[in-house]
């Protein structure tokens, strides 16, 4: 019997190629599509621009280098803004802040939301119901209104901005994770471990969470896109950044009046923001498609946008 077992063991040659985790498999599949490659390319391009940009800026982004709203010229390829500062330098310097705030807010939202969603799914019953009802209440508010309310009540410092954006995003993450975790919690391997009397915290950490990496990655990507839009919108409205410092959202607002004199002050940051949002979304979408198949991915992405989670 043993000899034959060995023989059958050898006959099969699966090799380490199949040993990759599900997340890596999803990533590879996503990157084999045009949508995934273009999305990731755009994302990386803008991120590179935002973080390398400050070192490349030809001028100090807060220094006055010419008359207000000067059109592009030889030394100033994108002209100047409302106060006569170099638009190109401000563009190169205006991204890192936005990206850091968005990343921090998204990370916080995903962490809190995932925890709430998983606990609700694992506990079921009254505790789970209570968590999900609270998220429903949060979801009933329009996002931007809710953030504005928080920011105007609490103040507009950077960390409060992060907290506010995280608070509005977390319930949506919780919804999605709840849907995915419900399925995992019902699986036999989770029940088997629970039967041994293992505390719920350990069951969730060791058994449930590893199966949620893919939906979490997709959801994280989508949330990052939403956070960027939300935060640049808040910047545009004047929350979060102190005036002399550049940020793409702020730049759009500052230069709106002079759009007919030097349109680049508005259009350049708008294009960069749009590319970033489109890239993030395309990449997250390709991840979702690789993970759940095209049809369900549309449900997932649409559901995520509405905050209802996959059905």
């Amino acid at each position: 019997m043993t000899v034959q077992t060995l023989r059958s063991g050898r006959a099969r040659n699966d090799g380490p190629a199949r040993r990759r985790g599900a997340l890596r498999r999803t990533l590879t599949a996503a990157l084999s599509t045009g949508r995934g490659r273009v999305g990731l390319g755009l994302m990386l391009l803008i991120i590179a621009l935002a973080f390398i940009g400050p070192y490349l800026a030809p001028n100090d982004p807060t220094m006055f280098v010419g008359p207000p709203y000067a059109p592009p010229s030889h030394g100033l390829p994108l002209g100047t803004d409302d106060l006569g500062r170099d638009v190109l330098s401000r563009l190169l310097d205006g991204g890192w802040y936005l990206l850091l705030v968005a990343a921090a807010a998204t990370a916080a939202a995903v962490a809190v939301g995932a925890m709430a969603g998983v606990i609700a799914a694992y506990r079921q019953g009254r505790a789970g119901g209570a968590i999900m009802r609270v998220t429903d209440v949060f979801l009933a508010f329009p996002q931007i209104v809710f953030v504005l309310l928080l920011v105007s009540v609490l103040g507009a410092s950077t960390w409060l901005l992060i907290v506010a954006v995280a608070i509005v995003q977390a319930p949506q993450v919780a919804r999605v994770v709840y849907g995915a975790a419900q399925d995992v919690c019902e699986r036999d391997f989770v029940k088997a471990v629970a039967l041994w009397g293992v505390p719920p915290r350990t069951v969730i950490r060791r058994q449930v969470m590893p199966s949620l990496t893919t939906p979490l990655a997709v959801e994280g990507g989508l949330r990052l896109g939403f956070s960027i839009i939300l935060i640049s919108g808040l910047n545009f409205l004047g929350f979060g950044v102190q005036p002399p410092n550049p940020s793409w959202g702020v730049m759009v607002n500052e230069n709106l009046l002079g759009i007919r004199a030097n349109m680049w002050g508005v259009i350049a940051p708008a294009i960069v923001l749009a590319l970033l949002a489109v890239g993030t979304n395309m990449f997250a979408d390709s991840l979702a498609r690789a993970a759940f198949g095209a049809e369900q991915a549309e449900d997932f992405v649409a559901g995520s946008a509405l905050g209802v989670g996959p059905s």
Partner: protein, 600 residues
């Protein structure tokens, strides 16, 4: 290939020749060299385990290939007309009229939004030529429902599929297949989800209708006993090829291919108490055939000449062919399996259940169940789906908590909630789940899965745990390199062995096995059952073995409890109950059970 020459002259019946199905993308064959003939009015059984290509062949007979596959070559002649040469339009017109199909799951084959009557008449409005001159469609519907044993009342015709039981649904599906009087009917495991009594009625119906209307039927199944009861001739498939075929009686009396003989040795019987002998290894995956004979790597008879080329079908008896260079002697399976050695004596009872009443919501599903598992013994709980047998196991394990009654292990009462049981109680009672595809964590290796309970129940160091994992793998006859594989690299049988190993790793005293072999092929089931039986004997393990399969009970259990509709109807030593049943339900169950000895 050579042994069944398609006769060109005969036109009544089915002649399949040179059928090849391959993947659409890389042109890798998944089914090859399939050829057979079926005379009108007879049934051919097409037997094979999962992945053997039997379902691919069965749909290819209708001119269809699943997504990703294409029919590359061959002929399927129905009364002389080649189905595979038809255009898409001709094919569509032939379906229902010339060929028809009964799928495994009746619930998915019937339109849930149409009443039974309209579903049946629908085919007749498309094929009005199927009716005798002047016969109204409704008359034919009444006729065909009568034939499948359903009273054609207004109420039945007006009901929706979900209002019918599984057996009734399957009979409606069969009526639909027969309503236009086709020439070829392909039945793909139509009784797999049904209980034995309903299965028996469905089989009788199919055989009668085949004869009455001179249809040629192909009955696809993984279950040898079912085929024995219905088929006039039988073909066995392995790795995409027919490896043996012949008259059913001949095959079942003297199988010559080592694989066919292996299937017989693995198949449990409710009549004889025998050790089950499984087939080690796993079949080649579809499209990944080795060179030469596909079975050679698992074959005890394999010799060097099996490897260079695929053997051709050669005659081994009247109308009996086998694809083997070294066929077994014709009496090989007659005295194959040794009897089960007597189990060691036992003293006292390990598990005692009395007056157990369980609820799902407001529905009572168990009505006062009493049973005991003697220490060191295996007690089987047998019942059909919905009998409450799984609920019973879940109550004992702590997965279902809404029950009252008494449940005690080794004299101490067990709490319904597993959290309130002592750590030792949780350790000595281990539960093995039905579905091996869900019971292992897919994100960690096999070794980590087995190690998991050791983390909670023992204080072993990482190295000691690893050592224990390797020992457990050896106990369930898996080699040490399985520890580093991921569950999705394992077959169903291997996974189930890992699940059993995980339960064994903490030295349990009572193993609760909930239908653990129902997802497995018979050759794999035999290996698992035999391993469990051996472990039980060697370690004095007590077992509660939940199953719907009466035959397998005989090979593993010493005691049997027959459950029906939430109550125990009969219990006692296995030989007593199976050889001399007392309760009408048990008698009926045993009478309807298909047997390996052919009747057709």
């Amino acid at each position: 290939m050579t042994a069944t020459p398609p006769s060109v002259t005969r036109t009544s019946g089915i002649v399949v020749s040179g059928l090849v199905v391959e993947t659409a993308r890389h042109h890798v064959p998944v089914v090859a060299d399939v050829a057979f003939e079926i005379r009108s009015g007879t049934v051919m059984g097409l037997v094979g385990e999962s992945g053997s290509g039997k379902s691919t062949v069965s749909v290819a007979l209708l001119g269809h290939a699943r997504r990703g596959l294409r029919i590359a070559d061959g002929e399927v002649r129905v009364d002389g007309q080649d189905i595979l040469a038809m255009t898409e339009q001709e094919l569509r017109r032939s379906r229902g009229r010339l060929v028809s199909y009964v799928p495994q799951d009746p619930a998915s084959s019937l339109n849930p939004g149409l009443r039974v009557g309209s579903q049946l008449t629908e085919a007749l409005t498309i094929h009005p030529d199927a009716l005798a001159a002047g016969q109204p469609a409704l008359a034919r519907v009444h006729e065909v429902l009568d034939e499948v044993g359903l009273a054609p009342t207004r109420q039945l015709l007006d009901s929706y599929p979900h209002q019918l039981s599984g057996g009734q649904q399957q009979r409606v599906a069969i009526a639909m297949a027969f309503v236009c009087r086709p020439r070829l009917i392909v039945l793909d495991e139509p009784t797999t989800g049904l209980d034995v009594t309903t299965q028996r009625r469905v089989l009788d119906t199919v055989r009668q209708l085949t004869q009455r209307h001179q249809v040629a039927s192909v009955y696809v199944s993984h279950d040898l006993a079912v085929v024995a009861g219905i088929a006039d001739q039988t073909a066995v498939m392995y790795a995409g090829r027919i490896i043996e075929s012949g008259p059913t009686a001949e095959i079942f009396r003297s199988a010559r291919h080592p694989y066919t003989a292996g299937l017989f040795r693995a198949a449990p019987s409710a009549r004889r108490t025998t050790l089950l002998v499984g087939i080690e290894g796993r079949p080649p995956r579809p499209g990944r055939w080795p060179q030469g004979c596909g079975f050679a790597s698992r074959c005890p008879q394999a010799q060097d000449d099996c490897l260079p080329a695929v053997p051709s079908l050669t005659s081994v008896g009247p109308d009996h062919v086998a694809r083997c260079l070294h066929p077994l002697p014709s009496d090989a399976i007659a005295h194959a399996n040794p009897p089960v050695p007597p189990s060691p004596g036992h003293s006292g009872s390990a598990l005692a259940v009395s007056g157990l009443v369980a609820h799902y919501g407001s529905t009572e599903v168990l009505h006062g169940v009493d049973l005991t598992v003697p220490a060191g013994c295996c007690t089987a709980v047998v019942g059909e789906s919905g009998s409450g047998k799984t609920t019973l196991a879940r109550c004992i394990a702590g997965l279902h908590q809404v029950w009252r009654g008494k449940l005690s292990y080794a004299g101490t009462a067990l709490d319904p909630l597993p959290q309130r049981r002592s750590e030792d109680e949780r350790r000595v009672l281990q539960y093995v789940f039905q579905n091996p595809y869900a019971s292992l964590n897919p994100r960690t290796s096999v070794g980590a899965n087995i190690e998991e309970p050791l983390r909670y129940f023992t204080a072993l160091s990482a190295r000691d745990r690893r050592e224990r994992v390797l020992r457990v793998l050896d106990d369930v006859a898996l080699s040490a390199d399985f520890a580093d594989r991921m569950p999705d690299q394992l077959s169903g049988g291997e996974r189930q062995r890992v699940a059993v190993g995980r339960a064994l790793s903490v030295d349990p005293e009572l193993l609760i096995c909930d239908e653990i072999t129902s997802a497995l092929d018979v050759s794999v089931q035999a290996l698992l059952v035999e391993q469990l039986r051996r472990l039980q004997h060697e370690r004095g393990l007590s077992m509660l073995f939940i199953t719907h399969n009466l035959a397998v009970v005989r090979s593993i259990a010493q005691h049997v409890v027959v459950v029906s509709r939430g109550s125990v109807v009969e219990q006692g030593p296995v030989e007593h109950v199976l050889d001399n049943p007392q309760h009408p339900y048990t008698i009926q169950l045993l009478a309807d059970l298909p047997h390996l000895e052919p009747t057709a």
